[in-house]
C-alpha cells in the first residue's frame, strides 16, 4: 500500500486518504469560457505517464487537502506540500 507523507502528519498508509485527482485549475471566469474549454475543464484529464501533480485529502488524519507530485509509472511520490493560496 502506498505510503504518503502528509505535510502535517507524516508518513501514513494511502488508505487514510481520499484521492482528489489531478490538479485541474478552474477557469477564472466560467461564464466567459468557451464551451470547448469548459468541457475540457470538467471532463478531460491529461492522465500522464510521468510525474503528476495531484490532490489528496487526509480524511483519517488532519483533515486537510495537500498536493503530491507522484510518478504514475512507478508510484514514487517525489514530494508533498500544502497549497500556498
Amino acid at each position: 500500500m502506498l505510503l504518503l507523507h502528509c505535510p502535517n502528519c507524516g508518513p501514513r498508509n494511502a488508505g487514510e486518504f481520499r484521492f482528489g485527482g489531478e490538479v485541474n485549475p478552474r477557469p477564472a471566469n466560467p461564464t466567459a469560457t468557451s464551451d470547448a474549454d469548459w468541457a475540457h475543464y470538467l471532463y478531460m484529464r491529461p492522465n500522464p505517464l510521468g510525474v503528476q501533480k495531484e490532490w489528496w485529502f487526509h480524511r483519517a488524519g488532519c483533515g486537510l487537502w495537500f498536493l503530491a507530485e507522484r510518478h504514475t509509472g512507478n508510484n514514487q511520490v517525489l514530494k508533498t506540500y500544502l497549497p500556498t493560496t
Partner: protein
C-alpha cells in the same frame, strides 16, 4: 482399531515429533495413530497410507509430493474446513479428516472413469463443450460443480473469528532458513528493528532436514520471530501481507530481505502423479522432521548431488535403494508403474533408448530447483528489496551465509542504520545442477499441473491452437491457476512452451506474479464482521423506548417507535420531537464567509441579516444538486450551516477543497457534526413546550419563521432555529452533545401536558412529503440539476459566480427535459418508490418517468408522491399519467405545490 506405525524410523536428531505420546485421528472414517508434532500427511505416511486425495478433473489417486505445502496433492477436508494442506497441518487429537474430490469413496471413485473419456476432454474442454445451448448451462454447472471441486463449503458452519494486526519493522526478513537468519542477525546487530517470518513451525529452513543440515543458529535478542506465518504478498512501499492461522498481518517495513528459498522441480513423465512419486526434499522432510520413511524400496531419479544425498539418507534409515538414475550419467525415468500407488518404474537410457524395469514403492525426483521468487516478482526491482540464499540461486552454504549477512547489512543501511556494505559478491556460482529437462515423452498421462490436471499434451494442443504466449497459455489451459499458484508447474510449463516454439526459455518470459502467493482463507481478508456505526447521544433512549432502528449512511436512527401514522398525527395535531443529531454541521468564521457561501451555494448570502436563516442548496459544476441544508448568520462574521446527514463528511471535504484551492480567504471552517445534538420540536404546541424551558422570547414577533436565536433551553446554551421541514411550527434545537440527553428529556417532560410524541424518520418522510419537500439523493440523482428539481427560484444568476452557474444558465436557456413534480393517486393504491411511469398503448408504450417518493398521507387520506416527468407533462397541474405496476397500472395526476397547507400558514403561525 488403530493401525501400526510401520514406516517410522529410529529417532532423528532435530525431529519435531514427541514419540513419548500417541494421539488418534480419523481419515475417511478409519482411526490412525500419530505423535504430537506429526502433520496429517506424515502420520498417514507413517501408517503406510499413500493415497490421500483424488485429482480435480480425472479423479486420479494422489499422495504426498512436496511435503512443504507447495502442491495440491494432499489437500483434505477437516470438518467444515476445506482445502487444508495436510502436510502443513498438525494432527490434533480426535480430528476427522476426509479426502476431497472422491465420490463415493477414496478407494472406489466412480468419477475416475472420466480419465477413460479424457481423449474427449481436451484442453479448453469447458469453453468448447458447454457453451451451447446456453439454456442448459445451469444444468452443466451443477454437474461440473459436483465432478470438479475443491472441498465442500458448509454454509451452516460457524464462522471463525479472524483478526488483523499492523506491524512496523525497519527490516522484514521473509524466510527463516540460513540466509534469512544471517540477514536478520546482521540487520539487528546494526540496531534495526527486525522481524523474521517463516511459514514453518520453527526457524531453520533446510538446515533442519537437508543434506547440509546443521544446528539452527540463535538470533540476537530483540529480533521478533513470526513462525507459522506465511508472507503472501508484497505491495507498494514494502507493505507486506502475512497470514498466521486466523490472524492477518499488515506489515510496513522500510526494507525487505527475501530469503524464501527454492521449490524442488517435479519432472513430467508417464504417471508422474502416482502416489509414491515424491520430491527429494519431501523425502528428507519426512525422514528428518517426522521420522518417517515413506517407502521400503526406493528408486532415485536425479541430476545433481542432492539426489545422491537423499539416497544416502534413505539408506541410512534402512530403506533399500533399488537404483539411482543420474541424468548426468545418461539415465532418466520413462514411467512410473502402478494403479493406486507406485509399484515399479521404467528407466530409459538417454543414449541408446533402452528401457529397464524395477520394482519399488517410492520414486524420488531430485532434478533441480526453482527460486521461490514470487515476492521478488511482485516487487520487481524496488529500492529496499534484497534477496539472499536459494532464491538467488545460491545453494553453497558458505556463500549463503555471506549473502545473508550482506543482504541484512544492506537492508539495515536502507532503513537508515549504518552505511551500505562495501563488500560485493561475484555472479552466482551454481553449485546445485538443475536439469534443463522438463519432461520425458511417452505414452501415458504426464501431468504438468497437478492442481487442474493439465498434461503436457494439453499444453501442446493449446500451443498448436495458437495460444503460444505464456499468458494466453495460462488462461486457456488454466495452468498455474490452481491452488498451488504455479509453484509446481510454472517452470515446467515455460520449458514446454519454449520447446514447442523452438526458442530459448528466456524468450518465453513468465506470467505475472499476483497476490496471494499461497492460498489464504477468505475470512483472513474479510476479518471480523465489524460494521462501523455512528449513534447519536440519545441512541440508548430510543432503544429503551421501542425505537425501531434503521441504518442511514453510517448512522443508526429510529425509523419509528411502533406507530408512524400516530406519530404523523401527533405532529400535525399536537407536538412531536425527532432526533436529528445526524445532520452535518459546519461553523464558518471570518470576514470572507459571505463571499465563500455565495460561491458554494446557488442562493444569495451577502444580504442575509444577523439572526436570519436561509435554505441552502449546493450544486456541482454540472448544476447537479449535491446537498442541501440551512444556514444562519449568528453574528456579523459567524455563520452556522447544516448539511444532509448522509452528505456531511463529503460536503465538508468539498468545502475544504474549495477553501484550500483559493476560495478560503478570510474564512475558518469547523465541522461540528458530532459536537452538537440536534432535536426538532414540531407541531402547533411546540411554542408552548419550548416556552416552558427558556427565558427567551419565543413569540412569533420576537422569533419569527426562518430566524435563529442563541437561547438557554433547560439550562443549556443552545442554538435554536425556527425552520420547518415538517410543515409545522417548529424549532430545531442544537445543544452541545454532552447535554443532549438532558435537553431531550427536558423537552419530553415539558411536552407531556401537551401530548408530546417522539417521532422517527418514517413519520418525518411522510410529513415532508405532504409539504412536497425534497430529499437530496432520494428525489434527486447523479444527473438531477437544480432547475429540473424545481429549485429555479433559489438560483441567483445575478451573482458573479457560483458552483454550477454556467451549467444552470444553459439549462435555464434550453429548458430542462424532465422535471421533478408532485403527484397524487386517484385510486387507493400506493405505488412503490422506483416504479416506472409509462405512456402510450401496447406496442408503442415507453417509459417517460419514475416515482422517487410515495406514501399514503394520513393527513389527506390518499396517496401522494414525487416523480420525474417530461417537462411538458409536469407543467400541467392535474395532468393524468399512469404508473406501471405488476398488479395493473396505477393512475395518478400531477400536483403543483405543497399537498398540505400550501400557503405555509402553519409554518409561520
Amino acid at each position: 482399531m488403530a493401525s501400526s506405525s510401520s514406516h517410522r524410523v529410529p529417532q532423528q536428531p532435530g525431529e519435531v515429533i514427541d514419540r513419548s505420546r500417541t494421539i488418534q485421528f480419523t481419515f475417511n472414517g478409519r482411526t490412525y495413530d500419530a505423535h504430537p508434532g506429526d502433520s496429517i500427511a506424515s502420520a498417514l505416511a507413517a501408517a503406510g497410507v499413500q493415497m490421500i486425495s483424488r485429482s480435480f478433473k480425472y479423479h486420479r489417486p494422489r499422495g504426498i509430493l512436496c511435503a512443504a505445502g507447495q502442491c495440491p496433492n494432499c489437500l483434505v477436508q477437516i470438518g467444515d474446513e476445506p482445502n487444508v494442506r495436510s502436510c502443513q497441518r498438525q494432527v490434533e487429537q480426535g480430528i476427522a479428516v476426509r479426502s476431497q474430490n472422491a465420490w463415493p469413496s477414496l478407494d472406489f471413485d466412480l468419477l475416475s472413469v472420466t480419465q477413460l473419456a479424457s481423449r474427449f476432454m481436451p484442453v479448453g474442454f469447458y469453453y468448447k463443450t458447454f457453451i451451447r445451448p446456453l439454456s442448459l448451462w445451469p444444468f452443466y454447472e451443477d454437474q461440473l460443480r459436483h465432478a470438479a471441486g475443491l472441498g465442500v463449503v458448509d454454509p451452516h458452519s460457524h464462522p471463525a473469528e479472524f483478526d488483523k494486526q499492523f506491524l512496523h519493522a525497519d527490516v522484514a526478513v521473509v524466510g527463516g532458513g540460513p540466509a534469512g537468519l544471517g540477514a536478520a542477525r546482521a540487520a539487528a546487530e546494526r540496531g534495526a528493528r527486525v522481524m523474521i517470518f517463516d511459514e514453518n513451525p520453527v526457524l531453520g529452513g533446510h538446515l533442519r532436514y537437508s543434506s547440509s543440515r546443521a544446528s539452527v543458529p540463535a538470533l540476537p535478542k530483540g529480533v521478533e520471530v513470526f513462525t507459522g506465518t506465511t508472507v503472501v504478498a508484497w505491495y507498494t512501499d514494502h507493505w507486506l501481507a502475512a497470514v498466521r492461522g486466523q490472524r492477518f498481518f499488515k506489515i510496513r517495513a522500510k526494507a525487505v530481505v527475501t530469503a524464501t528459498g527454492a521449490y524442488e522441480n517435479p519432472l513430467v513423465f508417464d504417471n508422474n502423479d502416482l502416489p509414491g512419486v515424491m520430491l527429494g526434499s519431501a523425502v528428507q522432510r519426512l525422514l528428518r522432521l517426522h521420522g518417517v520413511a515413506p517407502g521400503r524400496r526406493a528408486l532415485i531419479i536425479t541430476a545433481n548431488d542432492h539426489g545422491l544425498q537423499v539416497a544416502a539418507d534413505l539408506r541410512a534409515a534402512g530403506v533399500e535403494i533399488v537404483a539411482v538414475a543420474d541424468e548426468r550419467e545418461g539415465r532418466t525415468i520413462q514411467a512410473a508403474e502402478g494403479k493406486r500407488a507406485v509399484r515399479g518404474v521404467v528407466l530409459k537410457n538417454l543414449k541408446t533408448g533402452a528401457m529397464e524395469s524395477f520394482e519399488c514403492d517410492l520414486i524420488v525426483i531430485s532434478v533441480g530447483w526453482t527460486p521461490a521468487a514470487g515476492l521478488l516478482h511482485m516487487a520487481k526491482a524496488k529500492p529496499g528489496m534484497f534477496a539472499a540464499g536459494r532464491v538467488n540461486g545460491t545453494h553453497d552454504r558458505a556463500r549463503t551465509d555471506t549473502e545473508g549477512r550482506l543482504a541484512g547489512q544492506a537492508a539495515a543501511a536502507h532503513a537508515g542504520f549504518g552505511p551500505a556494505p562495501a563488500e560485493t559478491l561475484s555472479q552466482t556460482d551454481q553449485t546445485q545442477h538443475t536439469s534443463p529437462r522438463a519432461r520425458v515423452p511417452g505414452e501415458g498421462k504426464r501431468f504438468v499441473c497437478f492442481c487442474e490436471d493439465v498434461t503436457d499434451v494439453d499444453l501442446e494442443t493449446a500451443l498448436a491452437e495458437g495460444y503460444d504466449s505464456i499468458e494466453l497459455l495460462k488462461r486457456y489451459s488454466t495452468i498455474s491457476m490452481g491452488p498451488c499458484q504455479g509453484k509446481m508447474c510454472h517452470r515446467n510449463s515455460i520449458h514446454i512452451c519454449a520447446e514447442a516454439r523452438g526458442c530459448a526459455v528466456q524468450e518465453i518470459g513468465r506470467t505475472t506474479s499476483r497476490p496471494p502467493i499461497s492460498p489464504v482463507s477468505l475470512g483472513s481478508f474479510a476479518g471480523r464482521l465489524m460494521e462501523p456505526v455512528q449513534v447519536s447521544g440519545v441512541h440508548e433512549w430510543h432503544r429503551q423506548h421501542g425505537g425501531k432502528m434503521m441504518v442511514s449512511g453510517l448512522w443508526l436512527r429510529p425509523e419509528h417507535y411502533g406507530d408512524p401514522v400516530a406519530e404523523v398525527k401527533a405532529v400535525r395535531e399536537r407536538v412531536g420531537l425527532i432526533d436529528v443529531s445526524t445532520l452535518g454541521k459546519i461553523q464558518f468564521t471570518g470576514p470572507g464567509v459571505p463571499a465563500l457561501l455565495e460561491r458554494l451555494y446557488v442562493n444569495q448570502w451577502r444580504k442575509l441579516g444577523v439572526g436570519r436563516v436561509r435554505y441552502a442548496l449546493m450544486c456541482n459544476e454540472e448544476g447537479v444538486v449535491v446537498d442541501d441544508g440551512v444556514c444562519a448568520r449568528l453574528a456579523e462574521e459567524e455563520w452556522y450551516a447544516t448539511t444532509t446527514s448522509s452528505g456531511a463528511a463529503a460536503v465538508f471535504e468539498v468545502i475544504q477543497w474549495w477553501m484550500q484551492s483559493g476560495w478560503g480567504k478570510g474564512v475558518h471552517a469547523t465541522e461540528l457534526t458530532e459536537a452538537f445534538a440536534a432535536f426538532n420540536l414540531a407541531g402547533p404546541q411546540s411554542r408552548a413546550v419550548l416556552g416552558k424551558l427558556t427565558d427567551g422570547d419565543v413569540s412569533n414577533e420576537a422569533f419569527p419563521y426562518m430566524h435563529f436565536r442563541l437561547m438557554r433551553v433547560a439550562g443549556v446554551d443552545c442554538r435554536v432555529w425556527r425552520i420547518g421541514f415538517t410543515g409545522e411550527l417548529s424549532y430545531e434545537i442544537h445543544a452541545p452533545s454532552g447535554y443532549g440527553w438532558h435537553v431531550w428529556e427536558a423537552l419530553l417532560d415539558a411536552g407531556k401536558e401537551f401530548g408530546i410524541t417522539p417521532f422517527g424518520v418514517e413519520a418525518q418522510r411522510v410529513l415532508r412529503l405532504e409539504k412536497a419537500h425534497i430529499i437530496v439523493g432520494q428525489d434527486t440523482e447523479a444527473v438531477s440539476n437544480a432547475i429540473a428539481a424545481g429549485m429555479e427560484a433559489l438560483v441567483k444568476f445575478e451573482k458573479d459566480d457560483f458552483l454550477g452557474k454556467r451549467a444552470l444558465m444553459r439549462v435555464a436557456k434550453d429548458g430542462p427535459k424532465q422535471k421533478l413534480v408532485g403527484f397524487q393517486v386517484t385510486g387507493n393504491a400506493i405505488p412503490e418508490e422506483g416504479l416506472q411511469i409509462v405512456a402510450g398503448q401496447n406496442g408503442s408504450r415507453k417509459i417517460i418517468g419514475w416515482v422517487t417518493s410515495s406514501r399514503f398521507s394520513p393527513t389527506l387520506g390518499h396517496g401522494i408522491g414525487l416523480c420525474w416527468l417530461p417537462s411538458e407533462v409536469a407543467a400541467q397541474n392535474g395532468a393524468r399519467f399512469s404508473i406501471h405496476c405488476d398488479g395493473g397500472p396505477i393512475e395518478a395526476e400531477v400536483f403543483h405545490g405543497a399537498f398540505f397547507d400550501p400557503e405555509g400558514k402553519r409554518l409561520k403561525s
